[in-house]
Amino acid sequence: MISNKETISVLAKEGKRLDGRGLLDYRQPIQLETGISWTAEGSAKVQIGETVVMAGVKLSLEKPYNDTPDQGGIMINAELLPLSSPEYESGPPGIKAIELARVTDRGIREAKAIDMKKLCVTPGEKAWFVIIDIVTINDAGNLFDAASLAALTALKAAKFPEVDPETGAINYKKKTDQGLPLLKEPLAVTVYKINGQLLVDPTTQEEHAYDARLTVASDDNGTISAMQKGGEMPLTIEEVGKMVDIALDKANFLRAEVEKVVK
């Protein structure tokens, strides 16, 4: 009997996939929705095929770090909810959730997507900190791209809450119309290598059959801000070049989807 893994590998060689897509096609529908959580300062739900991911932005006022007294900060956390897949269990984040959070974090942080200095209220004393929580609702593959899409969309949709001018307390129930100081719009695209072929947007089955993967985060100028190679097999320099080309192209395609729901 041939396993799905073998079938996927054999098909890939011929440029085919189990669900009939082209190697460089994303699943449909790609649906983005903002404002899915009134309690978050910004929120988004992203659907790619059957994969559904949510991101919520919470803002808080904290003391800046000692080495960057004139800047705010960001933190990205990911929860692979047991609700979203039979493979996930309750408990502290495993390595898969940690990698997802860190790769998504680097793509945004290293692109300097948020003007950290503008987040500072009083140097050395008070600055805005942006916490993005990513949660999975249905993991049907390609969480890296979905998480990055959800994070960027939620950031773009976020509005500062009101602050009492006298006490300095945040009134989370009232939002201002002021958005976050965003300078760039980085998005991650992950390119997979299966049996010598390159493809994007894998299903869960394809994620069990790949040889190597490369996540590439790039901004609207085509500047790369983060990369992460995964998988057991090596990549040639030539392959990396091709993968980056694909990632830059698909990032623009996905950015247009974000643009449709939030300017």
Binding site: P82, L83, P86, I131
Partner: protein, 234 residues
């Protein structure tokens, strides 16, 4: 009695606008989404499946495990730290008891049915939305059930008995009581009952009668959600 008009203008026995949908999480064996006002609950059921660790297995029957979690951005104040809190563990426990009474897993010895509920936004009534969603998800998964469970909170705000309190009502500056209730449909028995605040016995009885009517409304929505799912062509 000074609470003559509700904060959001509802009638005293009127529930918040509610929405229910079955089959929203393809990976799960059964799933549901319930929205009650600005509270949203996703529920997913996995199983019956083998229970680990093994010493927890019961050779006479399968067991139910509930998990309840507020997403980190789902509270109206600061971010909530992910992971279990004392509150979330207690809610999971009372949910489990509330649903367990109507689930028959005697045909699945040593197995577990896991029920996960996660909420992306909350505005009071989370455990009720969680139970109502879980009940749809259990039915969607084809788990043998004696009866459907529907849940709604009732209570008293400044002398007036009301149904389905919002956060603004729970926090109303007067004597308030909040009573989450879950009921079976056919026998109208109570499977969840908690209360905090202050209430007289007379008003408690009145509130429970109101819960009977309120849970019936929830029941109709739950059944509608299930019928819609099973008549969809996909």
């Amino acid at each position: 009695m000074t609470y003559t008009e509700r904060v959001d203008g509802r009638k005293f026995d009127e529930l918040r606008p509610m929405e229910a949908k079955a089959g929203v999480i393809p990976n799960a064996d059964g799933s549901a989404l319930v929205k009650a006002g600005k509270t949203t609950a996703y529920a997913a059921v996995y199983g019956p499946r083998e229970l680990f660790p093994r010493f927890k297995q019961n050779p006479k029957t399968g067991i139910v495990r509930c998990h309840y979690g507020m997403m980190p951005f789902s509270g109206s104040g600061e971010r909530i730290r992910p992971g279990n809190s004392r509150r979330s563990q207690e809610i999971a426990m009372v949910m489990e008891k509330s649903l367990n009474a109507m689930i028959d897993l005697s045909a699945f010895p040593n197995a577990v049915v896991d029920i996960y509920v996660d909420l992306p936004q909350t505005d009071a009534g989370t455990r009720c939305a969680a139970i109502s969603a879980a009940s749809i998800a259990l039915a969607d998964a084809g788990i043998p059930m004696k009866d459907m469970i529907s849940s709604v909170a009732v209570g008293e705000v400044d002398g007036t008995v009301v149904a389905d309190l919002s956060y603004d009502e729970e926090a109303y500056d007067a004597i308030v009581s909040d009573i989450p209730v879950a009921m079976t449909h056919n026998t109208k028995e109570i499977t969840l009952l908690q209360m905090d605040g202050e209430i007289s016995k007379e008003n408690l009885m009145k509130a429970l009668e109101m819960a009977k009517v309120g849970t019936e409304t929830v029941y109709e929505l739950q059944m509608k959600a299930l019928k819609e799912k099973f008549s969809r062509s996909d």
